[in-house]
């Protein structure tokens, strides 16, 4: 399948996609890098000058930075924990035969298709609202004091909202992997005298390893950049209690118009993402082969 003619055609047909992506990646990234060494505020145009690492110093020594970093990690870790554990549980449940399985499956995956701004607002207002929210009503009907979710535990509330949206994703992928498990293998194990628990530990779980690593990888990519949910629920507050790196940079750039510091933050975010990516790719390297 490879003659000079087809090879030349292949190169020509691949180049638009490759060149566009290269530009898309390289140009803005180079600009971010360049801005990060400038004193550059949109409110003071024409005042740009080289400042060395001052922007990085500002960004990294900003008391908000360690909080945002911790929040980012908590957000990613918390959502991963809920979705992976819950996803395995739900997938196994949905894999059992029961009446209305197809409908339940549709119900369970639905949250993934809800746009982030909608899910954030629905949870914020109609469920978590301290006065009129459904949770408040439930708490009151049990005689308990309603919780003001988004002010008293903002990060946890956001984790719940995001996890709700991503749980179906994990479930769907794990379920697909589960259904591709050859039933011969399970039957062979049963013949060999394995009980349901050992079958799960020694057959099912290893079979799911690939799917689980994929879930972790992809969720991590998206969760590092959670933005809309924070914007419409807490705006990062109270204080910086629910600000993550992405939101912090957004406030620097588009609320304070400090292009220099925001760019330095962008570079930091890219470096962080790369560290996570390298770590993840190494972890799942052998799993993604073939």
């Amino acid at each position: 399948m490879a003659t000079l003619h087809t090879k030349a055609a292949a190169r020509a047909m691949m180049s638009p996609a490759v060149i566009l992506l290269l530009i898309w990646m390289a140009v803005p990234l180079a600009m971010t890098l360049y801005f990060s060494f400038l004193r550059y505020n949109l409110l003071m145009p024409g005042m740009e000058e080289y400042t060395g690492f001052l922007n990085y110093e500002f960004f990294l020594t900003d008391p908000a930075f360690p909080i945002a970093l911790a929040n980012t990690l908590m957000l990613v870790g918390g959502v991963l924990l809920i979705t992976v554990v819950g996803g395995v549980f739900l997938a196994i449940l949905l894999d059992q035969p029961f009446w209305g399985q197809g409908i339940v499956r549709l119900l369970a995956i639905a949250p993934f298709f809800v746009m982030p701004t909608v899910s954030a607002l629905v949870w914020k207002n109609m469920l978590m609202h301290p006065v009129n929210g459904l949770f408040a009503w439930i708490a009151r009907s049990f005689g308990a004091e309603p919780v003001d979710w988004l002010s008293s535990m903002p990060l946890f509330s956001i984790i719940i909202i995001v996890a709700w949206a991503w749980l179906p994703f994990a479930t769907l992928i794990i379920l697909t992997a589960l259904q591709s498990l050859d039933s011969d293998q399970k039957e062979a194990a049963e013949m060999d005298g394995a009980g349901p628990v050992s079958i799960f530990l020694h057959i099912t779980l290893p079979h799911l390893a690939r799917a689980l690593t994929v879930v972790i990888l992809i969720e991590t990519i998206f969760l590092l950049s959670v933005f809309a949910e924070i914007l419409v629920t807490t705006s990062g507050g109270p204080g910086n209690a629910s600000t993550n790196i992405a939101y912090l940079i957004y406030t620097q750039a588009l609320l304070q118009f400090d292009v220099g510091t925001a760019s330095a933050g962008g570079v930091v975010a890219v470096i962080l993402a790369n560290i996570v990516a390298i770590f993840l790719i190494r972890m799942i390297g052998k799993n993604l082969e073939t």
């Binding site: 490879a2 003659t3 000079l4 003619h5």
Partner: protein, 332 residues
């Protein structure tokens, strides 16, 4: 017309060289079979002729015209793939007519040609079906139909029967042979099955490691194998190869005796051995014998020959049917 000449054809994939300077002359109307173990380069050679791969060095001449750099479509060759490579979204009729449509032929002419091909191949009742609704043998015929409507100067077959079950394979083998008789067009046929090679070929090309080991008619190869490899590859069950003292007696490094070239006896003979497994096929009996001082030997006896595990039998290689090979593996 379908004379094809390969001149010092070389193919490299990056560093790896898979075809090492092949020279071959194929005459118009010949049925040529490329045979060899998997990885010997036989399919690559076919794809080079088809133009699906570039030749790294050397020339391919088709009907006197240098075709080395021609794209596949302009070589006037038709190919039947191992997987049949039918277009799954097109009906049988459209599959067969596709090359004619590509050639810009008008609808009525295509229709007539497709009908003609379908008649030859017993596909008339299936023309409206999709390939997915056909059996393996029917799909095979559609693939052949798609090849014959083009009236190519040569047909290329890449292991066309390997996806069929045993009984069907024998049938299709016959059908392809008959097709060759009636069309009298050059056919190049790749297979790893020496039975297909022996039964169908005018000329067999035995390949190994990207080199031609021997070219000749089936019986030439059977009678006069040039080396140990060809001797072992042609003939079924394979020739027994014996080294050591018995070979030295014949003045060779290795001697070869085909299973069918033993005189079998319960009483006396040159070699004495114990039967390991006896396979009674009715027409023949194949004995796997552990011969003293020689080693394991496969021998064919008549169908009626009585032998069971543990029996002692005597084997005598037929006079003049013992092949002698030197230290380099070449026949002496």
């Amino acid at each position: 017309m379908g004379a094809i000449t390969l001149e010092n054809v070389v193919k490299r994939f990056g560093e790896a060289q898979v075809i090492h300077g092949v020279d071959l002359e194929i005459k118009d109307g010949e049925f040529v079979v490329f045979v060899g173990p998997s990885g010997c380069g036989k399919s690559t050679l076919l794809r080079l002729i088809a133009g699906l791969e570039d030749v790294s060095d050397g020339r391919i001449v088709i009907d006197g015209q240098d075709a080395t750099d021609l794209p596949p479509a302009r070589r006037r060759l038709a190919m039947v793939f191992q997987s049949y490579a039918l277009y799954p979204h097109m009906s049988v009729a459209r599959n067969i007519g596709f090359p004619l449509k590509m050639a810009g032929m008008d609808k009525a002419a295509i229709e007539a040609k497709v009908q003609g091909a379908a008649k030859i191949l017993n596909l008339t009742d299936y023309l409206d079906r999709k390939p997915g609704q056909l059996s393996g043998g029917q799909r095979q015929r559609v693939a052949i139909g798609r090849a014959i409507v083009r009236e190519p100067s040569a047909f290329l077959f890449d292991e066309p029967l390997s996806n069929l079950d045993a009984a069907l394979r024998v049938n299709m083998r016959l059908e392809i042979s008959e097709l060759h008789q009636s069309l009298a067009t050059t056919m190049i046929y790749v297979t790893h099955d020496q039975v297909e090679a022996m039964t169908m070929a005018d000329k067999i090309v035995v390949l190994q490691g990207g080199k031609i080991e021997q070219v000749g008619s089936p019986l030439e190869l059977y009678r006069n194998p040039r080396n140990k490899f060809v001797a072992g590859f042609i003939g079924s069950p394979a020739m027994n190869m014996v080294e050591g003292a018995e070979a030295a007696k014949a003045g060779a490094t290795t001697i070869g005796v085909r299973p069918e070239h033993f005189v079998m006896s319960h009483e006396s003979g040159q070699w004495r051995g114990k039967v390991g497994v006896a396979e009674h096929l009715g027409s023949d009996t194949f004995l796997h014998v552990e011969v003293e001082g020689v080693g394991p030997v496969t021998a064919r006896a008549t169908g009626e020959f009585e032998a069971r595990h543990g029996d002692t039998v005597f084997l005598t290689p037929e006079e003049g049917r013992v092949y002698r090979f030197g230290p380099d593996g070449l026949a002496l």
